[in-house]
């Protein structure tokens, strides 16, 4: 990816979509992105069984949106993931993590002591860890998207 293509992302994002240029790039992206996102969700949800977890899956999810923005332009990407959405997700992931800790306190355990959440301690711990991983994934994915969008946006005097 050259400097010119980077400038195109932020300067005239509409040109790629309106004209019939870059058909291959757009078609490949359209086919690939759902599978990338599915893999990201798989990595988050399978953190307890195999390699992976919230951080890795979150990065993969964020990368799928970044690929979308690289191909379709920043404005089109920001229609899919608006600034408000990503800002909310950045903090809500951390809140999910902290909230699960508070739930453990309310259930009579220590902070982040998952096994008091349900009668079956093993299942409770399993679900607690899954919830925590989901929180991590949301935050990491949103932060990746925010970092990319805020850095790539070109201001008028640049």
């Amino acid at each position: 990816m050259s400097k010119q293509s980077m400038q195109r992302i932020s300067h005239d994002p509409g040109s790629d979509i309106t004209t019939q240029k870059h058909v291959i790039r757009r078609t490949v992206a359209k086919i690939l992105i759902p599978f990338i996102q599915l893999f990201g969700l798989y990595v988050i949800a399978h953190g307890e069984l195999g390699p992976g977890g919230g951080f890795q899956g979150g990065v993969i999810l964020g990368a799928s949106v970044i690929v979308y923005i690289l191909v379709f332009g920043l404005d089109e990407g920001r229609k899919r993931v608006t600034e408000k959405t990503s800002d909310l997700l950045v903090s809500s992931g951390a809140l999910i993590y902290g909230g699960i800790g508070i739930l453990c306190l309310l259930a009579g355990g220590n902070y982040l002591q998952y096994n008091v959440l349900l009668p079956d301690p093993k299942l409770a711990s399993h679900l607690g860890i899954l919830g925590v991983e989901i929180g991590i994934g949301i935050t990491v994915a949103a932060v990746m998207i925010t970092l990319f969008c805020e850095t790539v946006r070109r201001d008028d005097d640049d």
Partner: protein, 181 residues
């Protein structure tokens, strides 16, 4: 054979990144470095780290570097003279660090303190304690839950700082106002 080849290739990549004048090529070599590093992590049976290295090191970091490169010049500024005191300091620190590695426990030695103490405990009790098969995930999310909570807060703070600094600066400039200090 491959255990020697991969580290040598990594060192070669590191030297190439420094010596290259074209920054785009440097970024590409850096990406290759991360990919080969991911392979090395798999060789060392650290698959979790390998996934992170491949996703963060080879993926996100490359894209962010390219974005930054698109806002600056793609040639390294020339005319940097050799700085001998800096070289001396670097060599001295490297020597001290290498000397420090002699005190580290030998890799793959079953009599290491971590291999005698912690690893057997985690391998024996993780499933009983947490009901999670992947020990790495169990340690990160359950045994070291506070650490990971801190990491998530750090990541989300970084994202919020980006929003506050860059987005607000862009809006100020768009309005024609003075950029904030």
């Amino acid at each position: 054979m491959i255990d020697i080849a991969i580290p040598l290739f990594l060192v070669a990549c590191g030297i190439a990144v420094i010596l290259m004048k074209d920054l785009l090529s440097s970024i590409m070599v850096f990406t290759v470095y991360s990919l080969v590093m991911a392979i090395e992590w798999v060789r060392l049976n650290a698959v979790d780290v390998a996934i992170t290295e491949a996703a963060v090191g080879a993926g996100i970091t490359t894209v962010l570097f390219l974005v930054v490169l698109s806002r600056t010049r793609s040639e390294e500024s020339s005319g940097s003279k050799s700085n001998w005191p800096a070289l001396a300091v670097t060599m001295a620190v490297t020597g001290v660090l290498i000397y420090g590695t002699f005190d580290m426990p030998r890799l793959m030695d079953p009599a290491n303190a971590p291999n005698v103490h912690l690893v057997p405990y985690f391998l024996d009790y993780t499933y009983k304690d947490t009901g999670v098969i992947n020990v790495v995930t169990a340690i990160l999310a359950s045994y070291r839950g506070y650490d990971t909570l801190g990491e998530v807060v750090v990541v989300s703070t970084a994202g919020l700082c980006t929003v506050l600094l860059l987005r607000q600066a862009g809006k100020d400039r768009g309005k024609g106002a003075e950029p904030r200090a």
